[in-house]
Symmetry: C2
Subunit: 355 residues, 2 copies
């Protein structure tokens, strides 16, 4: 089934978007511990440093995710159920959020900003992104009636544009002309880097396929931007509390998915059937990436997230050359050049309004 074929790819591609179901916080690492002191509106050099650290963490974790997937494929197909793995990721992130919170309570005591108890007013909007992703993931089953797997990989780059547009509309943040140009280049560059002889299939996509791809891009872009809005609405609120409430819905939704899809398999073979060392590594990596995404949402924004995951895609390919003796195509080199120029333009474009 086409869906199943791209599912492995999905696991890490979506992580970066699906983070909404999976946003979680932790203060185990020094970067994140220090993060606690720079709550919300913290400005200046330390905030810039924090932003850089979380962005770098997201980039490295996302690129190592893809490498783990290639590695696990080389090691033979894995037999575990995807729904239990997703559940484990969500549960692990909840646990890490709680652990970080306990640590904070022990150090600084319980305050209004870090108490776990919440109001419906605060938490009522938290399931919305998760619902959006669920709809998007359902659509994913149907889009393969119109689009094949290589074309789907290409169409997913529409997420970049939808995130930019929705970021502008919903969060009302302006990008400069140069930054918009850079964003178009980022999309074109990422797509170019992924070109292969079957990519031209995308041009035969029927109108239904295009519509569904656009709706999916909008859903995923909207979920990402909405999560940023939720998290940033209360700048002084502890990120781990925010994440705990975001993730708890991820846990619930994935529990439902297990019951619907894999109930028999889990009952007969057990929850952790087919888990290997690589499976555990992948779950750990996904959980940590989710945390990094959450930090990027809190201390940077969706634009930074999109750049970070795009650069991660390129890093993965370069590292794969050494690890798996992949060969880089000319299209990849051209796409990487365009993405690099895009990153450069985004950074110099930012300076314009300050002049």
């Amino acid at each position: 089934m086409e869906y199943r074929r791209v599912k492995d790819q999905e696991i890490y591609d979506d992580l970066s978007q699906k983070d909404v179901e999976s946003l979680s916080g932790r203060t185990l690492s020094s970067a994140n511990t220090s993060g606690l002191s720079y709550t919300g509106g913290a400005k200046g050099k330390s905030s810039w440093k924090l932003k850089s650290v979380v962005t770098l963490a997201l980039t490295l974790l996302t690129s190592s995710q893809a490498i783990l997937i290639v590695w696990s494929k080389r090691a033979g197909k894995y037999e575990y159920s995807v729904t239990t793995a997703n559940f484990s990721v969500e549960a692990l992130k909840c646990l890490l959020s709680l652990a970080a919170l306990v640590r904070t309570w022990n150090r600084h005591g319980v305050t209004d900003d870090n108490r776990l108890t919440t109001s419906f007013d605060e938490v009522g909007v938290y399931p919305i992104p998760a619902v959006l992703y669920m709809v998007k993931n359902l659509l994913q089953y149907y889009i393969f009636a119109y689009v094949d797997a290589p074309a789907y990989q290409i169409l997913k780059n529409l997420n970049i544009i939808s995130t930019g547009v929705l970021y502008r509309i919903i969060l009302k943040k302006k990008l400069s002309e140069i930054q918009w140009a850079a964003f178009v280049l980022l999309c074109a560059g990422c797509t170019t880097a992924q070109l292969n002889p079957s990519s031209d299939h995308v041009l035969q996509t029927p109108i239904q396929g295009w519509m569904m791809a656009i709706v999916m891009a909008l859903l995923s872009g909207f979920a990402g931007v909405y999560t940023e809005a939720i998290i940033k609405k209360r700048p002084s609120r502890n990120i781990n509390v925010q994440n705990f409430w975001l993730y708890i819905f991820g846990v619930i939704f994935n529990l439902v998915a297990i019951c619907v899809q894999d109930y028999d398999a889990v009952m007969n073979k057990g929850f952790f059937h087919g888990y290997s060392f690589i499976t555990v590594l992948m779950i750990l990596n996904h959980a940590l990436s989710g945390i990094a995404v959450s930090m990027v949402m809190k201390y940077a924004d969706n634009i930074v997230k999109v750049y970070s995951t795009s650069v991660a895609m390129l890093l993965t390919a370069v590292v794969s050359v050494f690890l798996f003796s992949f060969r880089l195509s000319l299209a990849f080199l051209l796409g990487s050049t365009v993405v690099s120029v895009s990153v450069y333009l985004h950074s110099i474009g930012k300076l314009q309004p300050q002049k």
Copy 2:
């Protein structure tokens, strides 16, 4: 022979670079007649208008060139000798320059700026670009020992970078950071637009092939920039006089080429053997394109020329969709997007220093 295989392509690709052997002037069209009044340092709106007209003319002529070549290929292979065709182009441009000059003399009388007589000091440097191109064309015979035809098409995009770098070094004109970024994008975009399944061959190019390709790009970039320097050195000098002296060397060099390569064929079958209606159209188009290049060099610069010919390449492909039912590839669409963003960035980049 590989060389022969790309020669048709060359005819029009090189025209834009080979213009040096073929720069010619005319004042037959209204644009060019008015050009005479805006000699050299003319500034302001009228100069901007003139620049736009010559750039548009170059773009349209270059793109129709490629279409004529496709058309002539469809009509069957042509039997004429390339050397006589090149000679005819040069000779036609010389004639057009003279005709334009005679018209100017009749209207405005003979002045210091439009007299045909020249000094060694002025004309001594004129053969240099032609010699550079001859060396480049000779190298072209040898590079195919290391590079195949599809790879050569890709490597020719190095011309874009070499022109930018030499423009900066020789003419000492600055490009803004954004314009440099745009120039890298132009090169990447043009290459992406030309990607096809055999393009990856270029990655197997041995070091000798790369060296020769780089030397050829430098020679052709240097010749273009040098011609601009020659023409702009005397801003008030009539462009038709400058072109006459440039082209007369083109006529001489091509006469030598006929004697060396096709002497027997011309003697036995006649000079115009194998010429068809399309051949005549192509010669006319080449001559007019040469004139347009010359005007762009006088009133704009090499950067504009590079953009103009790149956009022409894209225009050709789009027009071919309608004329010859070509199919556009995804790579072409992505490359065109990147080139379009590059043109946009080049234009907004230019505004920065004026602020």
